[in-house]
Subunit: 82 residues, 14 copies
């Protein structure tokens, strides 16, 4: 059999990258949607605070985005560095 | 057996690409739907703020979209670069 | 055994395409349904803003659709390009 | 063993087609149900806007249907073209 | 071993048909139930619009039914044409 | 080994039939329950419209039943025709 | 090995029967519970319509029961006819 | 190997019986709980209708129980008749 | 190999017993909790009907318990009779 | 190979015991939590009925506990008697 | 191969212990959280009944804890006695 | 093959430890979050009872924590004692 | 084969570490989010109690964090000590 | 076979890293979204407390983020240190 150990490692790394990014996009995607939904609702009620609310929304989403970025980093590491 | 190691790697990469994009589309799809739903509701109540709300909706959705794009990037990398 | 490596790759790619499109249709399908549901509700309350709300609904759904299209792209790439 | 590589490919493609269409019908089915439910509710409250609301419902459902159609396309491609 | 490649293909196709129709019946079944539930509620409140609401319900359900029919088509194709 | 290809096919078909009918009964069962629940609620509030509401309930359930029947058809085909 | 093809078929059929009936009991069981719950609520509010509501409940449950019966039929067929 | 075909069949039947009864107890258990919960609520509000409500509860639960009994029947058949 | 067919059967039966009782305890456990929760709520509002409500709760729970007992019976049969 | 049939049986029994008790603790745990939550709420509103409500809570929880005890019994039987 | 039967048994017992305790901690954890949440809410509204409510909370949680303790017992038995 | 039985046992124990602690952290984590959320809400409404509510929160969380600690104990036993 | 027993043990330990930390981050992550959400809500209503509420939030989150830390500890032990 | 033990270990570590980060991003992502959503809502109602609420939001999210960071740490350790 011509399958070397490095092939098994690479196959696991690529499959792992797909799982990491696929699952890792669920949480931030839903979480940021919650933030954006409430921000739209709040701006609809209180439009003169739109700038403040947009800023809050972006800050809140940025933190939630972080775990998505971690997943991206792990996936990229699994693709290129490993 | 004529299966070489590179074949196993490619098979894992292609399966991983499918998993990454498939799972990665769930979170943003639902999250952006929440944003859009609340934006429609808010515009229905406060139509004179439609421009502001549409802009907020698009910004909120764009951030939520990001994890979907990460998934796309990982899937494309798994398809072509790896 | 007459199974070559390219066969294993293609099998994984086709299975991956099915998974990518199948899972990738869940999120946008539900998300766009949320947007459409709220748009109908809002138009029912405020029919004179129907044009504005329909436009907002379509914009919101278009963004949510994007991850579904990403899935379609990945699935098609897995079918024909790989 | 008389199993050739093309048989493995075809088996994966057919299984993938089943998964793609089966999972791909969940999202749009539920999403369109949400739209239709809210449209019925809105027409019950505001029957003189029935034409407008039916049109909005159909547009909203058509967009949500799109990911279901993508799944159908991928499934058909897996069945006949591949 | 007397298992030919065509047998493996057929087995995958039949299993795929079961998965496609089984999963594909969940979404439309639940979605159409939502539409019907809201239609009953609306008719109970506004019985003189029963004809209009029944028509809307049927239209909304018909669109939601479509993905179920796609699943049926794919399952039948997997059974007889493939 | 005395397992012929036709045996593998039949085994897959029978397992597929079980999956198709088992999963296919979830959606319509829940969906029709929603319709029936709302119909009972509506009749309790507006008993003089019981005939109209029962008819609407039955029509709504009949459409939702359709995907269950599709599943039954596919399961029966997998049992007897294949 | 003394395992004949018919044994594999029968094993698959029996496992399939268990899956079909097990999964097939979830949907109707929950759905009929919803109908019964709303019927009790409605009778508690409007006891003089108890006969009408009980009849409606039974009709609504009977339709929801149908997919459970389909599952039973498929399971029995898998046990005795196949 | 001393495993005969009848052993494989019996093993599948016993595993199938466990799955059928295990899954088949979820739906009725939850559904009957809904009925009973609403009946308690209704009796608490309207105690003079307790007899009527208890009867309705029992009828509603009996129908919901039916799918549980189907599961029991299939499991017993898998244990003793097959 | 010293594994006889009866061993495989017994192993499947014991695993099946665990699955049957494990899954079969979820539905009744949750369902009876719903009944008890609503009974406590109702007694808190209407303490002079405590006897009636406790009786109703017990009757409602007893029916819901039935599927749990079926699971117990099947599990015991799998342990001792089979 | 030194694995006898009795070893396979015992391994299956021990795994089955873990599954039975693990899954069997979910339902009663959640269900009893519902009962206790509503009891606390009710006592908070109506403290002079605390004795009555505590008794009702304990009775309701005891019934819900029963399926957990069944799971314990099955698990113990799988551990020691089998 | 130097794997004896007792090794397989022990491996299954240790894996089963992990599953039993892991799954068995979900139900009580969530259920006790519900009780505690409602107790805090009730004390916040009615602080002079804090002693009574804390006692009720502890009793309610203790019963819910029981299934968690059963899981612990089964896991410990799987670790040390078996 | 140089894999001894003790290796298989240790591998199962380590995998079991991961499963036990991973699953066992879900329930208490969510449950304690519920308690903390309601405590914050109650203190926000009734700040002069903050000490009492914090104490109640901690007691309620401590009980919910217990199943998490059981999982920790089982995981540690699987790591070091077994 | 050059795979020694220690390799199998280490592979299981590393996989177990991933599972423990991955699953173990779900519960605390969601639970702490609930606490933080309610704390923001409460501070928005009652800003002069911000210090008290922030402290309560942190205490509540710290307890919920504990199971996440347990998971971290188990994962680290699986990585380095085992 | 040219697969050494170190290859199996590395493959397990890379797959484990993907699972740890993928699952570990779900909880914090959703939890932080809850916090951000409520913060936007609260600021929309009480804009003059925006600084206080943003600070509270960030503190609450930071704690929830911690389990995501633990997952990142474990994943990185699995990639580079192990």
């Amino acid at each position: 059999m011509a399958i070397e150990g490095i092939d098994l490692i690479k196959a696991a790394a690529y499959l792992g990258a797909g799982v990491a990014m696929g699952l890792g996009a669920i949480g931030p995607g839903v979480g940021e949607g919650m933030v954006g939904a409430k921000a739209c609702e709040a701006i609809g009620r209180n439009p003169q605070q739109a700038a403040l609310l947009t800023r809050t929304m972006l800050v809140g989403q940025a933190v939630s985005e972080s775990t998505g970025i971690y997943s991206l980093v792990i996936a990229l590491l699994l693709l290129f560095v490993v």
